[in-house]
């Protein structure tokens, strides 16, 4: 009976084994908002994720339009929210790159940008 049960599963496996899911969507939203333009350079960037984060293995890097790092380093994590303070970096496009570890031990990364008008 075990053999027939297993044999019965094979067509099911073949039926199921198609396609591949992609596109991770872990970043819920951010402030400044992804792709938006803000009037003045923000003092900090905050990212909200879909799961709780591990501070020890979660980082944010922010660079200004000249490619210089403007984040102050250590990000503050509170539950599923992560904040990093910024130095003044002038106007232009800011890039935010994140790599986070959720509490269930999954690592994800991503990046986005926003504009500072002056």
């Amino acid at each position: 009976m075990r053999r027939t049960t297993l044999a019965g599963l094979i067509p099911l496996l073949l039926l199921l084994a198609t396609g591949e899911a992609s596109a991770h969507a872990f970043l819920d939203h951010a402030e400044p908002r992804v792709g938006n333009t803000v009037a003045t350079a923000p003092r900090e960037v905050t990212l909200w994720f879909t799961q709780k984060l591990e501070p020890a293995f979660s980082t944010i890097t922010v660079t200004n339009s000249a490619g210089q790092r403007v984040d102050t380093g250590k990000a503050r994590v509170s539950g599923s929210q992560m904040t990093v303070s910024l130095r003044s970096g002038g106007a232009g496009t800011y890039h935010v790159t994140w790599r986070v570890l959720s509490v269930d031990a999954h690592t994800t990364d991503g990046s986005f940008s926003f504009q500072v008008s002056k």
Binding site: M1, E20, H24, K52, F57, D104, T107
Partner: protein
Amino acid sequence: MNWLGAAVDGPLVVIRAIHFAATAILTGTLIFRAVVAEAASASARPAAIVVGTQTLRVAWTSLAISAASGMIWLLLVAASMSGLSFGESMTSDVLSTVVNETQFGRVSEIRLVLAVIIAGCLAYVRFPLARGLALATSLGLTAALAWTGHAGSTAGEMGILHLTADTLHLLAAAIWLGGLVSLVLLLSVSRRDQTPAVVSFARDATQRFSVMGIAVVVVVFATGIINAWILVGSWHALIVTGYGRLLILKVVLFAAMLLIAAANRFWLTPRLALPSGSEPQYEAVHRLERNSMIEIALALLIFAIVGMLGTLHPAIHFL
């Protein structure tokens, strides 16, 4: 490796499956010893002692496998968290950060302490207090797994619901799998020793297990739906994601286990009441034993899937 459209981390999946199965067998065996075997043993002392010795051996073996696989699991997770290769990540720096500063590491530490307590209790298993403590601690060892997985990282009030559901799901699954292993040992003893006292012991134990089994199935089913609702969220996600497809396979295997359990409960268990030593009754014991082994095989397949599911991003994150 790619399976059902899901990228699979081989070593991590295998070690998780082994760890979950060993931990479940440990907890389920201790519950079986307490609730089923000991309660039903008055009528057949010698057979009960044989079953007691065998289930104790299963408990020791599964505890050893659980502890060893748990430690390897921690090392694999540490490597994955650090983003380094396995060799590079095995530094005291990385390990102490993982153990002291992450939820997974802290929970692993607590669970290792629980495993040591269980070992101490099993060594003094002749004392009722040690038996009770071993059982309670092993429930903790299994329940704590919820904090290592997806349920442990769900934010907010939903997180409390998810942890509660996952804890109950793990405990019920453990009672089922570990109970089946013990039941097979008990049935095999009673098949070899056909005296009326032993057969009635097997019948009592099987009936008690089957009552517990109904409760367990209800809990597994209800909490499984809550977990799926949180982690998958829609029929569409269930069908199009690797996570969802694996979950469908898991439910199919669960349904197969249910069918066998129903046959055992409504067809074979009543036959144990037939005159002892009669051919139909012997046949019923034999079939029950074989069916339970098939159920164990299906349960182990489910644990292999659980090994995979926990390493994947839940379906709800893809849509």
